[in-house]
């Protein structure tokens, strides 16, 4: 006797769901076309370009000083490294020599900005996984960093602080005292975050086995920053190709083990501790002197040539390739945007996971759509 399943005649189908561009947790205007079978993803297609402003093209009709303004708008969560990488490339073209105080200030600002950026990640990742409270804790502290930037250069988001040849203004004694106050306040907060979210059992069970990237896969997809280091690959531009005198400071590169969402998260939280260490060292050894190099032209016209500079931004290896033809504006500017390259692996990672994991994985990649689309 043969038995037929009662569900034999039932037609089942997959469901197409648009995740974004107006979705609470796509961190901007990303759209992911998800094909789901029940709750399991069978296909995921990230769709980008909603925030495209063509800054690489715009740079070709602007002077070098003006291009720094454009860089602020890429990764608006951590704009200081963007300023820095453009200035480094342009300074290479112009052959400028940067005074030591300016170098130290650049390092200080970039590290403070890394803290601000990772705090945003920490908070929003909590929200992605349903924990709302860490978000407001993180923003309370991030607000202090933004206050510091506002005290220093007047802007809270798009700083335009690092300029060709140095930095915009010197920092005052009050500012240094305030920064030290922030650092002293911030150090115990990091332990608080660990108790609140990092070692929370539900958080760990949500993230430890999800979104694993093997080291080879990560290298093959060109990942960088905490996404790469979460897989255990020790590559940090600050160590591998030091700039602005990073070689004279003592800091570690935190590495993950299995490349899961939790490892990537943990890398970022550990990096905040290292950034605090770096800030302390810079403040202790801040050299006196000028904050701006002498002889930076009002309208720089570097000799024809090309230059590549890269820094360790908050999201990874941020690089700029500049070509000059001797005119007042760059002939070509190409950006190696870490968010854009990190996002590419998403379509492979999402397949086979649950809908809830999409949010966990997307959050752990930590993209900023301003940098993806530029």
């Amino acid at each position: 006797m043969t038995r037929t399943s009662p569900l034999a005649g039932v037609k089942t189908d997959t469901l197409f769901v648009n995740l974004g561009p107006q979705h609470p947790s796509t961190h901007g205007v990303l759209r992911v076309g998800l094909t789901i079978d029940g709750e399991v993803i069978t296909k995921a297609v990230p769709d980008i370009g909603y925030l495209h402003r063509g800054t690489s093209k715009l740079a070709e009709v602007r002077g070098y000083h003006h291009c720094v303004v454009l860089t602020d708008r890429w990764d608006y969560v951590s704009a200081m490294p963007n300023n820095l990488v453009f200035c480094l490339a342009a300074e290479k073209l112009m052959g400028l020599k940067i005074p030591p105080r300016a170098k130290a200030l650049r390092v200080l600002m970039c590290e403070l900005n890394r803290i601000a950026s990772h705090l945003l990640f920490f908070g929003t990742y909590g929200i992605d996984l349903g924990a709302f409270t860490p978000f407001l804790y993180a923003f309370r502290e991030r607000e202090m960093v933004l206050d510091l930037f506002e005290m220093c250069c007047g802007a809270r988001l798009t700083y335009n602080y690092i300029r060709l040849g140095g930095v915009m203004v010197d920092v005052g004694d009050n500012w240094i005292a305030k920064t030290k106050e922030f650092i002293e306040y911030f150090k115990p907060r990091l332990d608080e975050y660990d108790t609140l979210l990092t070692y929370n059992p539900i958080f760990m069970v949500r993230t430890r086995e999800v979104g694993k990237i093997a080291a080879e896969v990560a290298v093959n997809w060109g990942l960088s920053g905490p996404n790469l280091r979460g897989s255990g690959v020790n590559y940090d531009v600050r160590k591998a190709d030091p700039y602005c005198g990073y070689e004279q400071y003592d800091f570690e590169v935190p590495l993950g083990k299995s490349g899961s969402c939790w490892d990537r998260y943990f890398c970022r939280v550990s990096e905040m501790r290292q950034s605090v260490r770096l800030c302390e060292q810079v403040l202790a050894t801040l050299p006196p002197g000028e904050f701006m190099a002498m002889g930076v032209a009002k309208v720089p016209k570097p000799a024809a040539g090309e230059a590549y500079a890269h820094v360790e931004g908050a999201r990874g290896d941020l690089g700029i390739y500049l070509v000059s033809d001797g005119q007042a504006s760059p002939y070509r500017m190409h950006v190696r945007a870490p968010s854009f390259i990190n996002l590419a692996i998403l379509q492979e990672m999402l397949v086979g996971n649950k809908v809830s994991d999409v949010i966990a994985i997307l959050g752990s990649i930590d993209i900023v759509l301003g940098e993806v689309d530029r």
Partner: protein
């Protein structure tokens, strides 16, 4: 005030420091900010916080004092019943008219318990979550700590446009909020709010409550299905799986309570926990070694899951499903879902207080002068605080992990707990 004389300096005035400008750069940027870091790290350093704590203690004391003055509510109810009966007999109406009026009054009271609870719980949740997150929450509406915030929100919701999506199944979409909200009001009938303060003394009260509480899930699924939204559909489907699953450990965790008290009547269960061991340890079920604590924890977890709150809020899952099954609802229809959620929270709190915390029994001998309904309310509110606390602390489970947790942890342990209880009863007898 003159500087000469007493030598006692006047109290220092609170000085807000002038902004220090960064003269080094010749820039007019403020160089100082007010960072109350010592308050963020330790709220007790703030005098306002200490004042607030004193105020809270004062309010609680005032509630106890008021309760002591009013006394038990059951005699008042009897007086009211006699009054109605005398009016009815004076008007020549039959006995059934008195009964009908009396039932009507009780039903209205129950209805208002649920509705007023919505107002109170939303405000309280907003305040608690705010203070957990180092905010202050509503402060403006009504003046005193924003007490009128939810009332104004309710008016806003009443005035909002009621939107039905074009692709929605109109009738099902409209019916779903009603099907969700009615069972919670009905389920309150046998809840005992104190000694002899139950709207209906039902012999199978526990079964009755669980049976009606299970109906709401149909409304949730209907809402998710009829909205014509894929996120809503996913939310509705998740809700079905979750709510049906968590009914089981929730029901089984109460079985030891029923075994020890020997009744399904909530008033009897509460009454069975009266008295003290050694003269001071109350005979509440939560103090029964092992069995009591295990049952309490399972029931608490399952109740949080039943009410769709974090860490079990996967049917709503804001960051995944936008708002889950009630994404496409607006205005009062939407607030029906909200009302239901808070209604179930209150129901769970009263059940926790009845099953595990002795109902209206006083925690220490000598405190019986404060009436039972105050104790019941206090215990329920304490439990509600736990609900809010949990919600604003934990991240969310994933749907399949939630099921694992239910079927592989809660359910086996609730079965084991029944066995423990049976062994204990055998040993005692």
């Amino acid at each position: 005030m003159t500087a000469s004389g007493s030598g006692q300096a006047p109290p220092p005035k609170k000085v807000i420091p002038d902004p220090v400008f960064n003269e080094k750069n010749g820039r007019l940027l403020k160089d100082t900010r007010y960072w109350p870091t010592e308050v963020w790290a330790n709220p007790w350093a703030s005098p306002a916080y200490r004042r607030g704590a004193m105020l809270l203690i004062g309010i609680i004391g005032a509630i106890f004092a008021t309760g002591w003055m009013i006394g038990e509510l059951a005699p008042l109810g009897d007086t009211l019943y006699q009054l109605i009966a005398s009016v009815a007999s004076a008007g020549g109406l039959p006995q059934t008219a008195t009964e009908a009026t009396w039932i009507m009054i009780k039903a209205l009271i129950i209805l208002h318990v649920v509705l007023i609870n919505g107002l109170w719980a939303v405000w309280w949740e907003r305040k608690i979550s705010a203070h957990i997150q180092s905010r202050v929450g509503p402060t403006y509406a009504g003046g005193f700590h924003g007490w009128a915030q939810t009332i104004l929100d309710g008016i806003k919701l009443l005035l909002k446009e009621d939107i039905t999506p074009a692709v929605a199944d109109k009738w099902v979409h409209a019916l779903a909020p009603a099907i969700v909200v009615v069972p919670v009001i009905i389920a309150f009938a046998p809840v005992s709010f104190g000694s002899q303060l139950a709207a209906a003394d039902i012999d199978v009260g526990v079964l009755y409550i669980f049976a009606f509480a299970g109906i709401s899930v149909i409304g949730v699924v209907m809402g998710g299905w009829a909205s014509g939204n894929k996120y809503s559909l996913l939310g509705g489907l998740r809700a079905t799986a979750q709510l049906v699953s968590y009914e089981l450990p929730r029901g089984f965790s109460v079985v030891p309570v029923i075994m020890f008290s020997g009744s399904l009547d909530l008033s009897v269960i509460a009454h069975a926990q009266a008295g003290y061991w050694l003269g001071f340890i109350p005979k509440w079920f939560i103090f029964y070694p092992l069995v009591g604590q295990l049952a309490f924890i399972i029931f608490l977890i399952a109740s949080v899951a039943e009410t769709n709150r974090t860490p079990f809020d996967i049917p709503e899952a804001e960051s995944e499903l936008v708002s889950g099954f009630h994404t496409e609802y607006s205005g009062m229809k939407w607030s029906m879902f909200f009302l239901t959620e808070y209604g179930y929270v209150l129901l769970a709190c009263f059940l926790l207080a009845t099953f595990f915390l002795g109902g209206g029994a006083a925690p220490l001998p000598g405190l019986e002068i404060i009436p039972s309904w105050i104790w019941m309310l206090g215990k329920a509110m304490a439990m509600m605080f736990v609900f809010l606390w949990v919600r604003w602390t934990f991240p969310r489970f994933r749907a399949d992990q939630l099921m694992d947790f239910n079927w592989k942890f809660l359910l086996p342990w609730s079965f084991a707990n029944i066995a423990f209880a049976a062994a204990a009863l055998l040993y005692l007898s």
